[in-house]
């Protein structure tokens, strides 16, 4: 069976959930092999094995981490050349899409971004599902040239264990000087909040201009549900919440099991980032707010009374 490469998303060997999702999906297309760039492959090996990686190609280039996406594209191109995989799966985040873009040009291959599903089509080659135009259309697509390069959105598949060996296989790739022309010179880690990461979270609770700058009720409700906290651009532009928490066209695209919008009107640019959520809930004072067109459940009311009451009720029920 043909190999399917999965580019791992990890921080020093701590695998993000997206990696396990991609390994799960890759099994539908062939035998998954992970590609691990940077340190920590030994730490990650158990998880690779658990989710069905037969092999792990390890490129432990200490530099790779400080040189952005170009080196990773070169590394993947070299491995593709070596093993002729049936497909390459990459997490559909900003960096992942850029790696895929460069890889597509380098290898003369077609690429698909933001897939929410991947499967083997009638002829055995990968077929993807994407949601476009702010979720108003569903598109089925295929790569017709080269090695299919497919970027899959986080949270698109439920992870399933299927233990394999995950044998580590070191690969020597010499990264060109040109790929190192852009370099991270300083990196200030975000303060840890103890909350799940926005794009990985099963539940997201977001606040907008309606919070008037007080995200307290939003955060407390989020914490009662174990949720991540998001924000509309209006809230971010006002300086009430960090830009990295912005949901929408120019922020994060999330698709959790449950999305709660509090004090958010539901502008098209906001919808573009949350419309594929499975269940949508809104709390808004204005019954005409467009967000209510999308909801499974809506409360017309003041978030400063609705959210605290919901928080204590949730805590009570959870015990």
């Amino acid at each position: 069976m043909a190999e399917v490469l999965v580019l791992a998303d990890h921080a020093g060997g701590r695998l993000r959930k997206a990696t396990a999702e991609l390994l799960t999906l890759a099994r539908r297309l062939g035998e998954p092999s992970a590609v691990h760039v940077g340190p920590g492959a030994e730490t990650a090996q158990k998880t690779y094995a658990k989710y069905g990686a037969h092999k792990v190609y390890v490129v432990d280039d200490a530099d790779a981490a400080s040189y952005l996406v170009a080196p990773q594209a070169e590394i993947l191109a070299a491995i593709i050349e070596k093993v002729s995989p049936a497909a390459v799966l990459i997490p559909s985040n900003a960096a992942g899409k850029e790696i895929a873009a460069r890889l597509a040009v380098k290898t003369g291959s077609g690429m698909i971004t933001d897939a929410v599903d991947v499967r083997a089509g009638d002829d055995g080659t990968p077929e993807t599902t994407q949601s476009v135009f702010a979720g108003s259309y569903t598109v089925t697509a295929k790569v017709t040239t080269g090695t299919p390069i497919i970027c899959v959105k986080p949270n698109s598949a439920s992870i399933e264990a299927a233990p394999e060996d995950a044998a580590l296989e070191p690969v020597e790739v010499s990264v060109s000087e040109a790929a190192k022309a852009a370099r991270i010179t300083d990196s200030q880690p975000k303060k840890a909040t103890g909350r799940p990461e926005l794009t990985e979270a099963a539940i997201v609770v977001s606040g907008g201009r309606g919070t008037g700058g007080d995200f307290g009720p939003v955060e407390e409700f989020a914490d009662s549900l174990g949720a991540a906290v998001g924000a509309s651009r209006a809230a971010v532009d006002a300086g009430w919440y960090p830009h990295s928490n912005q949901v929408g066209q120019t922020g994060k695209q999330v698709s959790p099991q449950l999305y709660v919008a509090a004090g958010i009107s539901g502008a098209i640019q906001h919808r573009a980032g949350m419309q594929t959520s499975k269940t949508i809930v809104a709390v808004n004072k204005d019954e005409e707010a467009p967000i209510f067109e999308l909801v499974d459940f809506g409360v017309v009311g003041d978030l400063f009374s609705v959210l605290p009451q919901a928080t204590s009720e949730v805590r009570k029920r959870k015990g």
């Binding site: 460069r102 135009f133 852009a182």
Partner: protein, 263 residues
């Protein structure tokens, strides 16, 4: 410093967007078009850099249908000095790979093969792929610095700040370079009356694929390396239950979450 800004003409996000039944491509005639809002930030940034330096020229380049002239006009009204419009029926249906090929050739031609700084938006408001900048950088052999929320042009180098998922990063690259900018970087100006009048006299060159030495068989729908097999309009989400808070809205919300097994 001479700056090239790549701008895209896109269907208005506020209007109905759809596909063409005949070939599964985006129906660009159905919706009104405009300069992609996110590219206004790139035009603004280029203008600011040139204004601060007191020298240099801003050239906008677009690949798109005849109507894309509107996008060019807007950029010229904002203050760009000149424009290139690559227009060829054979380009219809190109994917990002094809578009980036044409764009790269156009950037090379307009800069005589030596661009100094190429600016783009973070993504187009229709495709929202955010991949053309990376492809352009790959094709032009330029260092790629993307998602800039601040940009400083120094002597022979550029420095950006960007807001990553896990960290706020400073990134440095040598010039020439390709930089994509976010909607955090500035506040795009509105064209002034003077700008609107001046734009009418600014040079716009229209190039075909032949002018760029691009083979028509390398672009367009036929050459696309991906294909849309099918598309379907999603049934509009059925509106769920809406309750008005009468002192028990929070409790009802919790009950809904409990019934849906979220607790």
């Amino acid at each position: 410093m001479n700056i090239v800004v790549c701008v895209k003409y896109v269907p208005d996000a506020q209007s109905e967007r759809t596909f063409q039944e005949s070939d599964n491509t985006v129906d660009r005639a159905a919706a009104d078009g405009l300069l992609s809002e996110l590219d206004e930030y790139a035009v603004e940034e280029a203008l600011k850099i040139v204004e601060a330096a007191g020298e240099g020229e801003v050239t906008v380049v677009t690949v798109g249908p005849e109507a894309a002239a509107d996008a060019i006009k807007k950029a010229l009204q904002m203050g760009a000095d000149k424009a290139v419009h690559v227009q060829d029926d054979a380009i219809h249906g190109s994917d990002a790979v094809g578009t980036s090929l044409v764009l790269a050739k156009a950037v090379e031609k307009v800069t005589d093969g030596s661009p100094e700084l190429v600016l783009t938006g973070m993504s187009s408001t229709d495709g929202v792929m955010g991949v053309v900048p990376a492809m352009l950088a790959e094709r032009l052999g330029l260092p790629q610095v993307t998602y800039a929320s601040e940009l400083t042009v120094g002597d022979g180098s550029v420095t950006i700040r960007r807001d990553g998922d896990t960290a706020s990063e400073t990134i440095e690259a040598s010039l020439p370079a390709l930089v994509s900018v976010t909607d955090q970087i500035n506040e795009p100006r509105y064209p002034s009356f003077k700008g609107i009048m001046a734009a009418k006299k600014k040079p716009v060159e229209t190039w075909s694929l032949a002018d760029l030495g691009v083979d028509a068989s390398d672009v367009g729908l036929e050459a696309a390396w991906t294909s849309v097999v099918a598309f379907a309009k999603r049934p509009p989400r059925e509106q769920g239950q809406i309750v008005t808070d009468e002192g028990d809205g929070g409790t009802k919300l919790a009950e809904f979450l409990s019934a849906q097994k979220f607790l």
